[in-house]
């Protein structure tokens, strides 16, 4: 008799097949090409093996490290602020008694926007000449045509703003759901015991919300590279590399300079970065679940 495959394996097989076909094979190909001087316009260069020279090159290039550092900084600031704003919004909406449903619906608005659309939208709004922001400032009597997408700090602020605008909703909605699910008794008890609102928030509400927060973080960390679409459209990494992130640097090296081998080497660094973020939050999530006895 033929040995039958275990059922769990059969059930998982389609998922593994499709992921392998679409992600694994191309990744192996790009891993190989990162050890070649592969140029898009010269396909034959794919067969020249140069060992780890591409990696050596990017690891000793300060422009690469600047972009790497900026990417980590960008993600850290964006994720933290998204969490903070999300928490604030959720608490505010939770306090509302009438029209809460409408508010919640409005909150989901940015989730429907394509990142590339968000990029164009804010490129338009922050345009120093015809943009909404400068038009408002000037109509209010300010003399400045603030170069939102040019000045080093303002440009970073603008892309952060766009990124945060797009992603805060996920946090707000998840945390809000956490607030709904929260049992009322401990809070009542704390009030009777004379706790200040801050104390009961800090010691009762927040710990309960932690798993929700980590879910949001994990969901986001799967998708951090979405910021590429936004930044590429808004500033393209410029001016003078002031908003250069790993992804914009990589795409320019690969597609414009056609140096795909080198770009794929950068790609691997960016993949490792994404994976590090994801694993970090997965662990936090499991820990938080275990603490609340929700582990499965």
């Amino acid at each position: 008799m033929r040995r039958r495959l275990p059922e769990w394996f059969v059930l998982l097989l389609p998922a593994f097949v499709v992921v392998a076909a679409v992600v694994l094979i191309p990744l192996l190909f790009s891993l190989y090409s990162s050890f070649t001087p592969y140029k898009l316009t010269r396909p034959s260069t794919l067969w020249t093996w140069i060992g780890e020279r591409n990696y050596e090159r990017i690891l000793t290039d300060w422009k690469f490290w600047a972009a790497f550092g900026r990417t980590v900084l960008f993600l850290t600031i964006a994720l933290n602020l998204e969490l903070l704003f999300g928490l604030g919004i959720a608490l505010m909406v939770n306090k509302v008694t009438r029209g809460q449903r409408t508010l919640r619906t409005v909150l989901m608005f940015p989730m429907m926007f394509s990142p590339i659309l968000v990029g164009f939208q804010f490129k338009f709004i922050f345009n120093d000449n015809v943009g909404l922001v400068n038009n408002v400032l000037q109509s209010l009597g300010s003399d400045a045509a603030l170069p939102w997408l040019v000045d080093g700090n303002l440009a970073m602020f603008s892309i952060l703003f766009a990124e945060i605008w797009m992603s805060t909703s996920v946090f707000a909605i998840l945390i809000l759901a956490g607030l709904f699910a929260m049992p009322r008794d401990p809070l009542e008890a704390a009030k009777v015991d004379g706790c200040t609102p801050w104390q009961s928030f800090r010691h009762i509400t927040l710990p309960f919300l932690m798993p929700f927060i980590y879910i949001a973080m994990t969901i986001r960390s799967l998708d951090v590279a979405r910021a590429y679409d936004i930044v590429q459209i808004m500033t393209g990494g410029g001016p003078a590399r002031r908003t250069e992130l790993l992804w914009t640097l990589m795409s320019r090296t690969g597609y414009v300079d056609a140096k795909m081998g080198l770009a794929n080497a950068m790609g691997y660094v960016s993949i490792l970065l994404s994976i590090a973020f994801t694993i970090f939050f997965f662990r936090k999530l499991s820990a938080a679940r275990a603490e609340l006895g929700m582990g499965g």
Partner: protein, 287 residues
């Protein structure tokens, strides 16, 4: 008496602050989108005007141009819309089916290295689209599925499967094992038991996974821009770039297409929003 009064005053101030904060937040969320919608109805001269014109005039010029033929700045909107719908809907359906079976496997079976498989799948989701786009392009070109619906559907299925597994896994886990055991005792096969007993309970998880998969496919750009070439398969986000030719960004036209792009997502999300929230929280937390 006096203390009561200050107390009341303080509450009033807090209430005012609360209201103001909410108002501010909601404005920031709404204005950028509304600005896009508004500008899709304004003539180009007015959009570019300096000093700004605040009283908007109304025109359908951009919509008319967009639906017009080649030579009048028309873009093949209907092809893009059709491609987007076909690709997003098909890939969502398949991803949900595959993801559900995977989620069920994780929730109901014990096997070696389970958590390793699970995290591994998630990590594939985390690979940045830009890093994937070129090798994927070359592989697809060799196979000959560039610029086809099939190619893009395949990619989006792969993108959406891990997250669907995650959400549905959480849902199936919540359902007590006794439920399907009871059904099997009643003479159902495991397959029947699944559809009759477990699936209905997990429905809102599946719905939220579906809406997430749909939004991801509908909005994806980095891969679509590489893997599509012509009106045969170009999706709406790629179509947006039609308005940035070498010399001019046509803001009005772009806004008009953007409105068309947001509308379906908006309608769909509102229909299933209840499931969306429930799915996210229970799927994830209890997982």
């Amino acid at each position: 008496m006096d203390r009561n009064k200050t107390h009341r005053n303080r509450r009033r101030v807090l209430k005012g602050l609360h209201f103001f904060g909410l108002f501010l937040v909601m404005s920031i969320i709404c204005i950028p989108g509304l600005w896009i919608i508004l500008n899709s109805f304004r003539p180009t001269v007015e959009i570019m005007a300096k000093p700004p014109v605040w009283r908007p005039s109304f025109t359908l010029e951009h919509y008319r141009a967009m639906f017009g033929g080649a030579g009048q700045g028309g873009v093949p909107v209907f092809s893009y819309l059709w491609n987007s719908i076909v690709i997003s809907v098909t890939s969502t359906l398949i991803a949900v089916l595959i993801g559900m079976s995977g989620g069920y496997a994780f929730a109901r079976y014990r096997f070696k290295g389970k958590s390793g498989y699970f995290v591994g799948l998630m990590l594939f989701r985390a690979v940045p689209g830009v890093a994937l786009s070129l090798p994927l392009f070359i592989v697809f070109a060799k196979v000959g599925i560039i610029d086809t619906h099939f190619g893009l559907i395949l990619v989006y299925v792969a993108m959406n499967v891990p997250f669907t597994i995650w959400l549905t896994d959480g849902f199936f886990r919540q359902i007590p094992k006794e439920l399907h055991e009871a059904a099997e005792i009643d003479g159902c096969t495991r397959w029947q038991a699944f559809w009759k007993v477990e699936f209905p309970v997990a429905r809102s998880g599946v719905a939220s996974a579906a809406i997430f998969a749909f939004l991801t496919s509908w909005n994806e750009f980095a891969l679509a821009s590489q893997l599509t070439r012509s009106v045969d398969s170009k999706t709406m986000p790629v179509g947006l770039l039609d308005f940035t030719a070498e010399f001019t960004i046509n803001w009005g036209g772009m806004c008009a297409l953007a409105v068309l792009m947001i509308l379906p997502a908006l309608i769909l999300t509102f229909i299933v929003q209840k499931h969306l929230i429930a799915g996210l929280t229970f799927g994830g937390v209890k997982g």
